[in-house]
Amino acid sequence: MAVATVSTQSGAKPKRSRSQFAQAWRRYRRNYLAVGGLIWVIIFLIAGIIGPWIAPYSYSHTDFLNVNSPPTWQHIMGTDNLGHDMYSEILWSIRFALEIAFGATLVSFVIGIVLGLWAGMKGGIVDQIIMRLVDFMGAFPTFFFDLLLVVKFGRGMGPILMAIGITGWAGYARLIRGLVLSMRKGDMVEAATALGASQMHIARRYLLPNVMNQMAVSLAFGIPNDLTVMAGLSIVGMGLRPPMPSFGNLVAQAGSMMLGFPWMMYFPAGIFALTLLSYLFMADGLSEALNPRGGD
């Protein structure tokens, strides 16, 4: 048997690692649609935050001398049939849309992550029960469930937020469970167990960080979905109670005025559509940028 000598230092020094975030951003930046989407999403966020302060009128203020006005210097996006300033309505809509969509997504996400991790790690009967619940949520028409909840608990911000939130967790739970399941039997978890790590520690330090990428992507897809559901509720008359404006309300109301006063449709529908599209571009870009097999 040959005896080898061991060099004390092995080979090349690894260079100071650039953070994974920086690498992902470099990949993201190359995708123009995604960057455009991100910019619009940021504008949308800023509008949602500062909107109520820069809105020239309150959302309930009616200028009855300028009803159904086309865009003018006084009302840059025109007014509706009650004299609400459309520009202010839209700014307030953005605020409400953001609050509900983000809140609802957060609720779904937290429920989904807890149940998904639990099901994936425990397996057995717990997994069975949770997954049957997921199947039930998937098979049951969610929108109908939302409607029921809103009818039962009212049309305020809180109830709508919760209604959308507690019906949307199934997808997140299924995704996380699948990812956890694929890692649970792997060497990584076994190595951590061999070090004496508790289940909690493994979940927090090993499993969660490895599902975060996919989670970020599914969140980016989830928010526009919740925006759509919220608008859908308004369109069937179960959204935010007027005079609180929302994109659904504005579009539903403009529908009947479309032929005479089309600007009432153009602005809210246009901005809403652009927002949804931007979120989707952003989500697509994210999923490409965060994919570890996406090259350099």
Binding site: A2, Q9, K13, R16, S17, Q20, G186, D187, G196
Partner: protein, 319 residues
């Protein structure tokens, strides 16, 4: 039975239920391991080597028999105590890339052992991580690297460093070199040997590379279909392989030919594949492939017999 052995494995069995059928992964295996010694486990793929290694650390629960680590029955002690005990028994994996968290730097991965057991302060831990990295032959700056930025050999050194964090007494080396380049293999083996001498470690060395096993092991157990067919001191086993399976296994090693000698090496191979562990053959499990099989082999299972100096063979005809 005095409990001076580091690890005692007594009649351990492990079965898996797979789609209603029972897979016999490990059947009635016993061995002892002392500090500072190495037990080599060899066998084909599917012979239960890795399963046995995991049962020895209770990464898998045994279905029968018991495992005593420093006199503690690790199948019985409560979870919390077991986690404490894990400081003394570690494992190094075949694929270091898969066993490291891709989202943790190498330093964080090694440090995690201290975090789990709440050892030392932040700076104290970092110092220890650097020392360990240096000990296994990596620059301290490697602590900042992510696993995908290191080569296979470097990663395996990280795997070794992580196994050493808690000053273990027993390390299961599960095919630690089979994923490495031949040029790196020897370095890693050498490192493992040095560490063993320094720290008086007990190794269970799982491999299908017989040359390496011969080099590093004090004792060798040959596994076939989850059973130990031959168990002896490394020297004895290579000098006088007594089980037909071991004989064929040894003859399948390619040796550098001696230019002086006229004889050519007779390479033997075993006919057929290892039988399905779902339904092990009756009698001696090796009989369908054994060149010397007789009628008795097909019906009667051979008992392990000591043929001298602790050389134990499970074969009717071994002497």
């Amino acid at each position: 039975m005095p409990s001076e052995h580091l690890l005692q494995v007594e009649n351990v069995s492990k079965r898996f239920r797979v789609r209603g059928k029972t897979l016999h992964a490990v059947e009635n295996v016993s061995f002892n391991l002392d500090s500072g010694k190495t037990l080599g486990l060899v066998g084909e793929s599917g012979s239960g080597k890795s399963t046995l290694g995991r049962v020895a650390l209770r990464l898998l629960d045994a279905d029968g028999g018991r495992v005593l680590f420093q006199g503690h029955d690790i199948g019985r002690i409560p979870k919390k105590q077991l986690r404490e005990l894990r400081r003394d028994m570690q494992v190094i994996f075949q694929d270091p890339q898969a066993s490291l968290n891709p989202r943790m730097t190498v330093g964080a991965a090694i440090e995690d052992a201290y975090v789990i057991h709440k050892i030392g302060t932040k700076s104290d831990r970092q110092q220890r991580v650097e020392d360990l990295l240096q000990r296994v032959g990596l620059p301290p700056s490697a602590a900042n690297a992510y696993p995908h930025e290191l080569s296979g050999g470097q990663l395996q050194r990280v795997g070794i460093a992580r196994a050493l964090t808690l000053d273990p007494k027993l390390i299961v080396c599960d095919e630690v070199i089979s994923a490495l380049d031949v040029s790196i293999q020897m370095q890693v083996i050498q490192l493992l040997k040095e560490l063993q001498k320094e720290r008086n470690l007990g190794y269970i060395f799982i491999s299908h590379n017989l040359a390496v096993v011969e080099y590093i092991s004090d004792e060798i157990a040959v596994l076939y279909l989850g059973e130990v067919v031959e168990h002896a001191a490394a020297e004895d086993l290579f000098k006088k392989p007594s089980h037909p399976y071991t004989q064929v296994l040894l003859q399948s090693i390619l040796k550098v030919p001696d230019p002086q000698s006229e004889t050519t090496q007779a390479l033997m191979h075993i006919k057929g594949e290892i039988p399905s562990p779902f339904s092990p053959p009756p009698g001696c499990t090796f009989h369908p492939r054994c060149p010397f099989a007789q009628d008795i082999c097909r019906t009667k299972k051979p008992e392990p017999r000591d043929i001298g100096h602790g050389h134990v063979v499970s074969c009717h005809f071994a002497e």
